[in-house]
């Protein structure tokens, strides 16, 4: 799994690529937690290149969302591939996350 970050205004954009599964989710959870603790509480997670997500990957995103909200921030998802969207909907987490088709729109909404 690859993680690429950039900052746009007050938003930290995190672009993930590969499988967000049990092999990668511990590292991803830890890195995202560090960003939130260091003050990047507005996170836009771009999932364009995430081929697969499992329950541990979802858990990492939920943990980070809770941490961001606790600090007055937000975490949004964008560009879900069909397998990722299917898992998010099966677990009904689409009711919890704000999800955007376009990563740039996600960033613009978070930076308002």
């Amino acid at each position: 799994m690859q993680m690429e970050t950039r900052e746009v205004g007050r938003v930290r954009v995190v672009r993930l690529a590969g499988a967000l599964d049990a092999v990668a989710s511990g590292d991803v959870r830890s890195k995202l937690g560090t960003y939130v603790r260091d003050g990047s509480t507005r996170l836009a997670i771009d999932l364009t290149e995430v081929t697969r997500i499992d329950s541990t990957g979802l858990g990492a995103l939920v943990t980070t969302l809770k941490a961001a909200r606790d600090r007055g921030g937000e975490l949004v998802l964008s560009s879900l591939t069909p397998p990722v969207r299917a898992v998010v909907e099966l677990t009904r987490l689409h009711r919890v996350f704000d999800i955007y088709d376009d990563p740039e729109v996600a960033v613009a909404e978070l930076d308002r």
Partner: protein, 149 residues
């Protein structure tokens, strides 16, 4: 009693997270080669990832990793995907499903416990057997071989 050709594929490996990922990839590759519907491959792959990840994370609590086995069987009854291990007993049917997340109540947002729910969603029946110190978790999908080809 099944009729017609039965296809099977078996992989045995050490119960690690990397091997869980390899089991998942092998599942979609082999089932695709067999001619199962392309649109369902990713859900079976996901189910195997969850089943095998569970074994590698919880099946062998000591440092020394045991083995796990993936067995794919497709015949005139349907598709069976089994993951077998010799670790501690674990019956997923005893695990309560995670709560339905309420957007306004973060305490209901699940950070774990979603794996078995995802496994179940990929097929029609999930069964667990413990025999001779061996766990076998089997996902059955009602997709008889002769109806697809």
């Amino acid at each position: 009693m099944t009729s017609g050709l039965e296809l099977t594929h078996r992989i045995e490996a050490t119960a690690t997270l990397d091997q869980a990922r390899a089991f998942a990839s092998a599942t979609s590759r082999v089932l695709g080669e067999w001619g199962l519907p392309t649109e369902r491959l990713s859900s079976w792959e996901m189910a195997v990832a969850e089943m095998a990840t569970n074994v590698s994370r919880h099946g062998y609590p000591t440092d020394e990793k045991g083995s796990m086995e993936l067995l794919l069987t497709w015949n005139s009854d349907g598709l069976e995907i089994s993951v077998r291990d010799h670790g501690i007993a674990y019956d997923p049917n005893e695990v309560p499903p995670p709560p339905d997340p309420d957007p306004d109540d973060p305490s209901t947002w699940p950070e774990g416990g979603m794996g078995i729910m995802l496994v179940r969603s990929a097929g029609d029946q999930l069964t667990y057997r413990r025999e001779d110190e061996t766990n076998t978790l089997t996902l059955f999908t009602d997709i008889p071989r002769n109806t697809v080809l």
